[in-house]
Structures are given as C-alpha cells and as structure tokens.
C-alpha cells in the first residue's frame, strides 16, 4: 500500500482557478520525493490535500489507504497527528516559548506533560535547538525558526513529513543543513515529501522528483 496515492485528482478553487488537473501519483512508504515547479504550479495545493486542509474537487486522495478527500471533519485531527507539516510561512506562535510551540501537537494529542516534555526535548535536540527551548520564536534567527518548525512537525513521530518550501527564506548553507535533516528523518523510515522551486537543491539528492506544470504532473 503506498503511503500517499493520488488518483486523477483535480482541485478547482471557488472563483474558477484550477490549481490541479488529473494528478495521479504514488509515494511508497519510506520514500523521499521532491515536488518542483514554477510558482503557482500547484505544489502547495497538492501538499494541502494530504492533511485535508483542502479537499479535492475530483479524484481520490489516499493517505495510508484512507480516503482523506471524503474524510469526516471529526476524523481529520487524528489523520493530522500522523503527519508532520512544515509550512512555508512557518506558523509559529509568538506568545509562547520555543518549547511550548513544539509542545502543542502533543498537548492536543493528550499526552501527559511529563512524557510530552521528554519528547519535546528530544525533538528540539534533533534540530539543534535544545539550548533555546526557553526563547521566544521572535528571538530566533530565520534558520532557527525553520528548525523549530521542523521540531514541531516531527515531535508526534509522524510516518509522513510534508514540507512546503522549507528553505525559501534562508541562505544556501542553512538550506543544505535543513535538507540534511530531512534526509536523516527519511533514513529512519519517515516518508518525506518536499515542495521546492529550487531545482538545484532537489538535484543534489538522489531522490525522485515530480515536476508540476500548471497543475499537471510533467512527464
């Protein structure tokens, strides 16, 4: 069973913009895949269909065999607990510490504060931010903020990690570091899907690359 399967998926936004057209793809468990394409090609939309942030207008999206396009709203939180999401705009909460930001998914999943704290520190350690756990996100550099975002994505030990332009706002050295981090997660069995417009970055990894062009998978 593929980790992610798209069958003839189309997404048309209200207003008529057609973001995806007849997209069909399979991503096997443990695979690392780059999703490239010009700005507006539909990369973000494709990623958003996986955690049911958006729903497809046509076709079927399966995640670990579950049809997430037709999933009941009440079941969506449980789907998302098994997915790690790294957003282009990071979406860190600035009213709380780095530690509390990473804690949020575990608190929502109902872990005891003690177990959760252990896992938060383990996640912060993995991204090299253990000594910054008390810092406010605003006090962190761009690269550190991105790493904090990754720590929050992996703290739930997801089987699938999705990242939308994770290196968009950081310099090349840091981008390499971030990518190395994703490769490490992939090596321990996590399925990783990274959307990026940076073809050079994708080319450096011996991974499958899917190219989107005006909403369709380019051959």
């Amino acid at each position: 069973m593929p980790a992610i399967r798209f069958q003839e998926v189309g997404k048309r936004y209200p207003g008529g913009h057609e973001a995806l057209r007849r997209v069909t793809l399979d991503i096997e468990p443990g695979e690392m895949v780059f999703l490239t394409g010009h700005s507006g090609a539909g990369k973000s939309t494709l990623l958003k269909l996986i955690p049911a942030i958006e729903r497809p207008t046509h076709g079927v999206v399966l995640v670990n065999g579950q049809n997430v396009g037709r999933m009941r709203a009440a079941a969506v939180p449980y789907l998302r607990r098994n997915l790690g999401l790294v957003f282009q705009d990071q979406r860190l909460l600035h009213d709380r510490s780095a530690f509390a930001n990473v804690m949020l998914p575990l608190a929502a999943a109902g872990l005891t504060p003690r177990d959760a704290a252990k896992r938060v520190r383990a996640a912060l350690d993995k991204v090299g931010l253990l000594d910054r756990e008390r810092s406010d996100p605003v006090a962190l550099s761009g690269g550190e903020q991105q790493r904090l975002c990754i720590a929050r994505a992996i703290v739930n030990r997801p089987s699938i990690l999705l990242a939308d332009e994770p290196t968009a706002n950081i310099d090349a050295d840091l981008a390499g570091e971030i990518m190395a981090m994703f490769r490490d997660f992939n090596r321990v069995g996590v399925t990783v899907m990274i959307a990026t417009h940076d073809l050079g970055l994708a080319a450096r990894f011996a991974s499958r690359t899917l190219r989107l062009d005006h909403g369709s998978i380019a051959p």
């Binding site: 955690p51 942030i53 709203a73 009440a74 939180p77 449980y78 789907l79 998302r80 607990r81 999401l85 957003f87 979406r91 909460l93 009213d95 949020l104 998914p105 608190a107 929502a108 999943a109 109902g110 872990l111 005891t112 504060p113 929050r152 739930n156």
Partner: protein
C-alpha cells in the same frame, strides 16, 4: 479519560492565566456582568424583605362580623351557631364589646382616645377564620343575610392585595432577570469573540497539528464561565453592600411603624443559585460564540 480530565484542568488554568494577564479588562467585564446581575438579585431580596413583614397567619382569609348595637347575648349565641354553618368557615371567635375596647386601649396611639370615651361605642363582634382558598365574598354575603348583623368586613382583603402586588413584583423581577440573563449571554458572546480574534493563529495552528474542535473550544468555554462567575461574585458583593447600607434606614422606618424591618441578605442557597445560573449563562454565551466563530475560521 485521564487525558480528557487533564485537559479540563489545563483549560481552566489557561483561562485563569489569561484573565490574570489582563486584570483591567477582566475586572471591567466582571463589573458589567455584576451590575447586570445585581439588579434582579436586589429586586428579589427587596421582595423577600417585604414578604417577611406580612404575617403568615393572615394569608388565611379572615373576616369580622359586627352585630347591631342592641344585639343581646341570646342573639350572639344564635349567630355563632349560624355563622359556623356558613360555607368555608373554619373557626368562629366571639369578641365581646368590652374586650374589643380593652384591646383598642392597648393599641399604640389609641389609648388616649379610648380613655376619653364616656361609653363604649363598639359593638359585639365575631372574628371568622375561613379555610385557605375559601371564597370570602360568598361567606360575607351569607353572614350579611343573618339577623342582627350590622356590618361584615373582609379583613384579609389587604393581605390579598399585598400578595397580588408581591406576585406582580416577583413576575417583574423574573422578567428583569430574564432580560439581563440574555444580556449576560450577549456580553460573554462578545468577550469570547474578541478572545477568538486575538488567538486566531493559535486556533489555526492547533487545528493543523491535530487538535480536535472540542479541545480548541474548551479553554474558551472555561473563560466564559469564569467571567460570569466573577460577575456573580460582584453582584453578590453589591447586594450585600447595598443591604448593609440600607439597613439603618429600614430599621428607622420600621421603628416608626412599631415594628422591625431588617433587609434580607443573600442566604447560601441564593448565593449558590446566582453563581450556578451565571456560570451556565456564561457557558452558553461562550458556546454560542465559539460555535459561530470557529466555524467561520474554517
């Protein structure tokens, strides 16, 4: 189950922490809710104060039957038997004219007048006590038809009037309470709407990392309930303060009428009821607000 309980605890703590972070705003909210709740609570306590002044026994209808001045002892004995047979009469008590005059002499302010009288102007009389709920007018008409009866007076009419006034007062207080209850729900609705607006990012991120709607909603519900409970506390404080302030004035008024009037303080049951109702209304306002606005955030 334990994680559910734990989150209730965390939500309560979170709501309290956020209240403490904005002491002025929270205090003003509590004050607005408190003043709104103090009005019906005050009205209720005022009604209780008046109600205690009404003698309980007088709620059973009573009437006086005055005999003609020339009625004899034999007439009185006959009348006693006939009056007892009237519908609704439970008890008859004969008040001879001498006893009536003596009682009048003991009444404050009338002693001097009684002392100046050369002869007793009062007639013999019967005091009839009717069964509760009996038709006093019908019984009075029956008594008027009997011989040697000069006048029949339904003594409990003023009690009935007072009771009707109090019933009206209670109903009016209930309308006031209902209206201000709606106001409390609206106030909480708005407060929670503002909280949701300032915590929009948190709601959105929580959803993205797998929080259920119930989990997201919970701290806001606690917040609404806590604010209403704080408001109830303010209302009770206002009521107690007003009672203590008005106490001496009422006592003076009471002494002029030869009685004693003390204002009612809210008893523990009233306090519990006010807090409980406020908490439920606050919860309802928060629930409505969260239901409407969280759906919009989708």
């Amino acid at each position: 189950m334990t994680s559910w309980l734990r989150h209730h605890g965390q939500s309560l703590a979170d709501a309290l922490r956020r209240l403490a972070q904005e002491p002025l705003g929270s205090a003003l909210n509590a004050l607005v809710i408190g003043v709104a709740l103090a009005l019906p609570l005050g009205a209720f306590l005022a009604l209780e104060t008046v109600e205690r002044l009404v003698p309980r026994a007088a709620t059973e209808p009573e009437m006086s039957v005055f005999l003609d001045l020339d009625a004899t002892r034999a007439d009185a004995e006959r009348l006693e038997r006939e009056l007892a047979k009237l519908p609704g009469v439970r008890q008859t008590r004969f008040v001879p004219k001498d006893q009536a005059l003596a009682e009048m002499g003991r009444t404050e302010g009338l002693a001097d007048i009684v002392a100046t009288l050369k002869r007793n102007p009062l007639p013999d009389a019967f005091v009839l006590r009717l069964t509760p709920g009996a038709n006093a007018t019908e019984a009075a008409d029956g008594a008027r038809r009997l011989g040697k009866v000069a006048k029949v007076q339904i003594d409990s009419a003023w009690v009935a009037r007072l009771q009707a006034s109090l019933a009206f007062g209670r109903a009016a207080a209930l309308v006031l309470a209902a209206l201000l209850g709606v106001g409390l729900v609206a106030a909480t609705f708005n407060t929670i709407r503002l909280q949701l607006a300032t915590r929009r990012d948190e709601v959105e991120v929580s959803r993205l990392v797998g929080a259920t709607e119930a989990w997201i909603r919970r701290p806001f519900l606690y917040s609404g309930a806590i604010q209403a409970v704080l408001g109830a506390g303010v209302a009770i404080a206002i009521a107690v303060g007003a009672s203590l302030y008005l106490g001496p004035f009422l006592a003076r008024l009471g002494s002029l009428y030869g009685g004693e009037i003390t204002p009612m303080l809210p008893n523990p049951a009233t306090v519990a009821a006010v807090i409980g109702v406020a908490a439920l209304l606050g919860l309802a306002g928060a629930w409505l607000s969260v239901s409407v606005h969280l759906r919009r955030l989708h």
